[in-house]
Amino acid sequence: MTRFRDLIAKAANPTGTVFILLALILVGVFAMNPGFFEGPSLMAFLKQAAPLVILAAGQYFVIVSGNFDLSVGALVGAQVVIAARLIDGEESRTLPVILAMIAFGVAVGLVNGLITTVLKVQSFITTLGMLLVLYGAIRLWTGGAPTGSLSEAFRQAGRFGIEDVPVLGQVPWALLIMIGLGAGAIALMRSRFGRVLMASGDNERAAALSGARVDAARTAAFVLSGLSATVAGILIGGYAGVSAQVGDGLEFTVITAVVLGGVVLGGGRGTVLAAMAGALTIEALFTLFNQMALPATLRPTVQGAILIAAVAYAARQRARPAPAPATPTATATATPS
């Protein structure tokens, strides 16, 4: 009975909402196409979803610390283009180029972070500016359209996996990377860094007066976001190769995902697991649209309506009166752990 009540309470929790939404959408997908839950197609779904999930984790760090990162879409695009141009089909260049991409992702995150924290420019503007700069600079560099091509080795991570696993078929590297990074993100949020980041997003001043290096933590969050965009770029480039449009508009999709996960813009609330679940939810929603053969042009409408409804629902949950507190008589001292 209590367990059931706990479950209800969890569901009513704004962070829990996303799991219910995800479940509902998956039920819908199942109703349309029971085959979706067979190993191979589930694996294929997760392979497609992995980049967005990883981006969501990166964006989560930035949002939870009280900022935005609008530059991730442009960064993903830039990374794929950089990879293609620098590798230019040479297998031997794969590793050095990946290292260069990581350095570039870190650098972009660092610049975003420093402009936001040191120069006190709101992150919305900082990263909007960065979006423009990246978009223009990368096209300047390649003369308008991507050149070069990716190596086979580069494409491994995004496209292939462990083949011939019973039941599942191919277990994609992308899925394993996603699980690894997801676990890493969860661990990071439980670490001292994560706690400081969360506190900085909730109450910057209190965190600073507790000795937290708020600016450093926030900058690190941008760096993590830059890194996540790098990994997403490696996976997306690996998955589908180079195209001029890669990464376009991803920033809004990923912010939508994180917010669907119950993470509040402004910081200090929400879990990284739920943010990643938000990304899965979006991908599942796109799959559902596809299964339903919903006219492609109508999809944004449904997506927008669901977004507003879900966030409004979560806001309602949050605005509800506090859970009954301990009465002074029933002194429940903090449980020693």
């Binding site: 937290a212 009465t327 002194t331 429940a332």
Partner: protein
């Protein structure tokens, strides 16, 4: 005053998050009287006032208002605006101004004078000037931007805002808290003027002198209950204190624990100064509780902030445990073993949406130098030794009562095992039980060999707890007194009436 009272509140009850803060309180205010509402911190004065002002709604009881031509009628305000329309204006304890707007705009916010439907800025400025002139304020331009004003002028703006509403009853919650003596004088004139005009005033203050100077009647609250309501003429200051506190002062503070002894000097400041304080010489020894006393604005918080590296000293020297150190950032202070319980726990002490656990370990998490598994493991024990009342360590701190929130703040600092702890108004806005607990905690800390620097506006706290009292006046040390000194002695220094002759220049 035989006519029907202007206001009668009966049986008002109110709970916050299940914790009752008012129990069936009655309050009547006559036409044209100045009525004092007194009581300890957390007695429920502000809450009662906010119910009257429509900020909170009461859980129980009735409010009958007899303003204007409408006879007595029951009211229950759910919005401050309703209260304003009914003739009740309020000056709240927290500032309620928009720094980006001018004085005139703030005074008329929400009630801008209009001509043909449009805001009439000229009228707004003129009327503001009139109100200010009426109040005898001469040096405040209606066009000045509020953000650029001094605290006192901001307070005046607030009062002008209430007055300009043409209310029959004006409630003021600690209006003099931020004012210097000359400005208090101004407020006296102001209140008397209102009274002459037949306006009633509900006056909340901790300053007994003002209450006896200004008020006709006094209502005393204690722990959310009505203790007494008397004419000022019928009561002496001593009686009033007894009524407020309900016990003899000596009994309130726990005795010094056995084995507490002043040891080595742990914190030493010589000639400390910055833009806000100057010439600060201070020693705090292990096992010693040093009280910092002074009026509002005398620079107590600034000393705490300087010692902790928030607004560091720019002159003089600081030594911690005998070692000279330049504390330029809170991290450095923490590394040196200093802790600061800030005066505003919500804005500066807690991440309100995080759990008790997350807050309690914040200092350990944020500082590698003090982080250790052993200390983390001590936190649950620490919280229970502070008698924290919470549903569990996972509860968000915003759902805790003020006192319990403060315990979390204290716990987060004790977790770091500091050698010096600075407590800035640690008992502000928390209830009596929690206060008591904190008093004994402070004693225990001293007994464990910590150097304690205690700032408290309640003089009795400083007097009752401190081994030595350092009194500030206008950013400088005015004098030093032994623990247990009289309030009069402290006030003599604090108000600058007495300066310490023997102090080196």
């Amino acid at each position: 005053m035989s006519e029907t009272p202007l206001l009668s509140m009966r049986g008002i009850g109110k709970s916050f998050l299940g914790v009752p803060v008012l129990h069936g309180v009655d309050l009547t205010i006559e036409q044209g009287e100045v009525h004092a509402l007194v009581g300890e911190n957390g007695a429920g004065k502000s809450t009662l006032m906010k119910i009257l002002a429509g900020v909170h709604s009461a859980d129980a009881g009735t409010v009958e208002l007899n303003t204007g031509e409408s006879g007595g009628r029951m009211v229950s305000f759910t919005h401050p605006l309703q209260a304003q329309h009914a003739g009740v204006a309020s000056v709240f304890q927290e500032f309620n101004l928009l720094p980006e707007l001018s004085v005139a705009e703030n005074v008329h916010l929400g009630r801008e004078p209009r001509r043909r439907g449009l805001i009439d800025r000229r009228a707004m400025a003129e009327r503001t000037a009139e109100v200010l002139a009426d109040l005898g304020v001469e040096d405040l331009a209606p066009t000045a931007k509020v953000g650029s004003l001094s605290v006192a002028h901001q307070q005046i703006t607030e009062i002008a805002k209430a007055v300009s509403q043409g209310a029959d009853l004006i409630c003021m919650d600690e209006p003099t808290a931020a004012l210097a003596d000359a400005e208090v004088e101004l407020l006296y004139r102001l209140v008397r003027r209102l009274k002459e005009r037949g306006v009633s005033v509900l006056y909340v203050s901790h300053r007994l002198k003002e209450i006896f100077d200004l008020c006709d009647r006094i209502t005393v609250l204690k722990d959310g209950r009505l203790v007494q309501c008397a004419d000022t003429a019928d009561i002496t200051p001593d009686d009033l204190v007894t009524a407020m506190v309900g016990r003899r002062i000596e009994a309130v503070f726990p005795e010094r624990l056995e084995g507490t002894a002043a040891g080595e000097v742990r914190l030493e400041v010589r000639g400390g100064g910055n833009a806000w304080v100057d010439g600060i010489d201070l020693d705090v020894r292990a096992g010693e509780i040093v009280g910092l006393a002074g009026l509002q604005g005398s620079g107590r918080t600034e000393i705490a902030e300087a010692v902790f590296g928030i607004a560091p000293f720019t002159r003089g020297t600081v030594k911690v445990d005998g070692k000279p150190i330049r504390i330029t950032r809170p991290r450095k202070a923490i590394g040196a073993g200093i802790a600061l319980v800030t005066e505003d726990r919500k804005a500066q002490g807690l991440a309100l949406r995080q759990s008790v656990r997350a807050n309690a370990r914040m200092v350990l998490d944020a500082n590698a130098r003090v982080h250790s598994r052993k200390r983390l493991n001590r936190i649950p024990g620490l919280l229970s030794s502070l008698d924290l009342v919470a549903r569990g360590e996972d509860q968000e701190v915003r759902y805790l009562s003020g006192g319990n929130q403060q315990k979390v703040v204290v716990a987060k600092w004790l977790a770091a095992e500091p050698g010096v702890i600075v407590l800035d108004e640690p008992t502000r806005g928390i209830d009596v039980g929690a206060k008591h607990k904190l008093y004994s905690v402070i004693r225990e800390l001293a007994a464990e060999g910590l150097a304690v620097l205690l700032i408290a506006s309640e003089l009795i706290e400083v007097i009752g707890l401190a081994d030595r009292i350092v009194v500030l006046h206008d950013g400088r040390i005015a004098g030093e007194l032994p623990g247990g000194a009289t309030e009069q002695d402290v006030m003599a220094y604090a108000t600058g009436r007495r300066a310490e002759e023997s102090r080196p220049a």
